[in-house]
């Protein structure tokens, strides 16, 4: 059984040679920049980093036997958004009535293990990396740590890199958080 849902990039042998260093660098910078926008809550700028045809998926992870065909549900989703839907979430966060984020969460995205493969389309890259998300909120000492792997398709555009597809595989089946009022 593999944890992946479709479409997925297999681990695959590294193909560094095919990725020009400047592409590696600029994709890396882009992902760090994007994370910083989220952690500093610049949501409008953030959502503009998605292409108009983007899809953002967070599938439900299920505890299955080793021999099961999948543990990432092919149907159930925590999030399954188009760019418009992401914009709705951002608009909501910018109202005075997004109670779940007032006071705001303190969120930090730790991006590691970035691996870049040529995408199926010219000018697209399949980027797979790990993300550890730390969140604390309010005047309580408690914090939560989410772990997952992001599987992006990044597209090169005149304005720079844009996210055409993102799938986030979270490493829990019963989430240890009372809500996902922040973006994973």
């Amino acid at each position: 059984m593999e944890t992946g849902a479709q479409p997925r990039t297999p681990p695959g042998v590294p193909r560094t040679a095919e990725i020009p260093p400047e592409v590696r660098e600029s994709i890396t910078d882009f992902l760090y920049y994007e994370a910083d926008l989220l952690d500093e809550r610049h949501y409008e700028e953030w959502v503009e980093l998605f292409t108009d045809d983007a899809r953002y998926e967070v599938p439900v992870r299920v505890t299955r036997e080793k021999k099961a065909e999948w543990d990432v549900s092919p149907t159930a989703r925590i999030i399954d958004d188009s760019k418009e839907m992401l914009q709705v979430r951002v608009a909501r966060l910018n109202t005075e009535y997004a109670w779940a984020e007032d006071p705001p969460s303190r969120v930090r995205h730790f991006i590691t293990n970035i691996r870049i493969h040529p995408g199926d389309t010219e000018g697209e890259y399949a980027v797979r990396y790990n993300v550890l998300i730390y969140r604390s909120r309010g005047e309580l000492p408690r914090y939560e740590v989410l772990s997952g792997q992001r599987r992006d398709v990044l597209r090169e555009t005149p304005d720079g890199w844009r996210i055409a597809y993102r799938q986030v595989i979270l490493d829990q089946s019963v989430l240890a958080t009372y809500n996902l009022s922040y973006f994973v």
Binding site: V58, V60, V62, T63, R64, E65, A68, S73, T75, A76, R77, I78, I79, D80, D81, S82, E84, M85, V88, R89, A91, R92, T95, Y97, A98, W99, A100, E101, S173, V174, L175, A176, T177, Y178, N179, L180, S181
Partner: protein
């Protein structure tokens, strides 16, 4: 456990017999370790608890792992197609025999010493049986301990109480209202994929109450929806509609109306036809004008049908969510959230309904987020010492009269926004936790939730 007995019913729970009929509820019932112990001993050990939807175990051997109270329960469809429930505990040393949330198995083999149980629960394999047991083990007596179950319209309930009355009696007529959620067509509903599960530091009761028809919170907690233009309604008429409860049983539903809505607005065409076939004229009379409906089966299973859309200012489609507010400790729950779709609807409709549900509910849901924000904060505040002598205001509709001509069972009131059903809910709860082990819970003991002036 000897640590819980009549002596340890907290004073603020006993006080409730007097304060509830006056519209006062002690805050501390919403988060207290002693209350949680009482609920384990007296409520979840006796009530009919929701386990699963039949569509989660469609084929022989299909199983899911669920809870009754703090007990792990296997819900499995056996080889003959019969649904069964067993304690997930090997009878030899108590090891967990099923470890996956869902799957398919003809038998469960314990990984400790290899005792093997058919999915019917029968003990069929014992290693070295002859060598070490000789006559001393009667296999017939040592199958997985069964859990009594019963179903209604695809819902599988279980109870640990052999004396419990039948499910039908327990539902006490609430089936009339459940049908709206469960019979969008002759073939009923199915779940769209496995449930979303997460944990939160909230007492399960405030969630059950909220989904029992708390229309009062919508324009405030979910104000963003009005702000962004998801609802035509200004919120002005939001309180209109009906609230119904089953006295002594706890079950309750709120049915929101907006004057001038066309019947069954927001349902896909196929579904409207389905409902017209599946529902009785009385049910159609009650539900066709409904803007939305939200209800709770005592103690902790809820349903909601409401219109929503992927982006604002759309007509909107009506999705259905089923949710279980499962207690996992004092002031803690594990949440199960399902999307129910009409079995007969085309896949494309099911997909669209799910996606809409998903934007609103589940851990990242735009509605769910703010509900949990309130519930977790509320539970923390009500868990503090000072909550023990702090009474909450439950005055809405104290002196109202039930509707005379309501076509359905139970007592109906208008408008939809009221706290009458909540008082019946907590009266029912009080009745359970006040009834010591061994005694039967008598629904007639539950005080009336309203008293109109003579």
């Amino acid at each position: 456990m000897q640590t819980v007995n009549t002596a340890s019913v907290p004073e603020f729970v006993q006080r409730m017999w007097h304060t509830l009929p006056e519209g006062r509820v002690p805050a501390k019932i919403f988060n207290d370790p002693a209350v949680y112990e009482l609920e384990k001993e007296r409520l979840f050990s006796r009530a009919w608890c929701f386990l699963a939807h039949e569509s989660e175990v469609p084929h022989p051997g299909d199983y899911v792992l669920r809870w009754i109270g703090d007990n792990s329960i296997i819900v499995v469809r056996d080889e003959h197609g019969e649904i069964r429930a067993h304690h997930n505990r090997c009878t030899h040393r108590g090891n967990q025999v099923c470890k996956a949330e869902m799957g398919n198995a003809s038998h469960f083999r314990c990984s400790y010493h290899g005792w093997t149980f058919k999915n019917t629960g029968d003990l069929i394999g014992v290693p070295y049986y002859r060598e070490v047991y000789r006559e001393s083990l009667r296999k017939g007596e040592w199958g997985l301990k069964p859990v009594r179950i019963d179903t209604y319209a695809g819902l599988i309930f279980g109870t640990l109480d052999p004396e419990a009355e039948p499910l039908d009696e327990y539902l006490g007529g609430f089936q009339f209202y459940l049908d709206f959620f469960l019979k969008p067509g002759p073939n009923g509903t199915e779940v769209y994929g496995p449930p979303e599960r997460w944990v939160a530091d909230t007492d399960w009761k405030i969630c059950a109450e909220n989904f029992g028809g708390d229309g009062y919170h919508t324009p405030v907690t979910h104000q963003f929806g009005f702000q962004l233009g998801f609802y035509p309604s200004s919120g002005k008429t939001h309180f209109m509609g009906y609230a119904v409860h089953i006295p002594g049983r706890g079950h309750l539903i709120g049915i929101g109306h907006t004057p001038g809505l066309p019947p069954f607005v927001g349902f896909p065409e196929e579904v409207v036809e389905g409902m017209q076939q599946a529902l009785s004229p009385e049910q159609i009379e009650v539900f066709s004008p409904a803007r939305m409906s939200v209800g709770t089966v005592f103690p902790n299973l809820s349903f909601l049908i409401q219109p929503f859309s992927l982006t604002p200012k759309q007509p909107g489609l009506k999705f259905c969510t089923m949710r279980l507010w499962h207690p996992r400790g004092p002031g803690k729950i594990e949440m199960f959230s399902w999307c129910l779709v009409p079995k007969d609807a085309p896949q494309s409709v099911k997909d669209e309904l799910y996606r809409i549900y998903n934007l609103a509910f589940g851990p990242a849901g735009t509605f769910e987020q703010d509900d949990f924000e309130n519930w977790t904060n509320l539970s923390r505040q009500n868990g503090a010492s000072s909550a023990a002598d702090f009474d909450l205001a439950y005055f809405q509709g104290l002196d109202w009269e039930p509707l005379k001509d309501h076509p359905g069972p139970g007592l109906a009131f208008t408008p939809y926004v009221t706290e009458i059903g909540f008082r019946n809910l907590w009266g029912t709860w009080l009745n359970y936790v006040s009834t010591p082990p061994g005694e039967r819970v008598d629904p007639s003991r539950v005080p009336p939730a309203f008293h109109p002036p003579q």
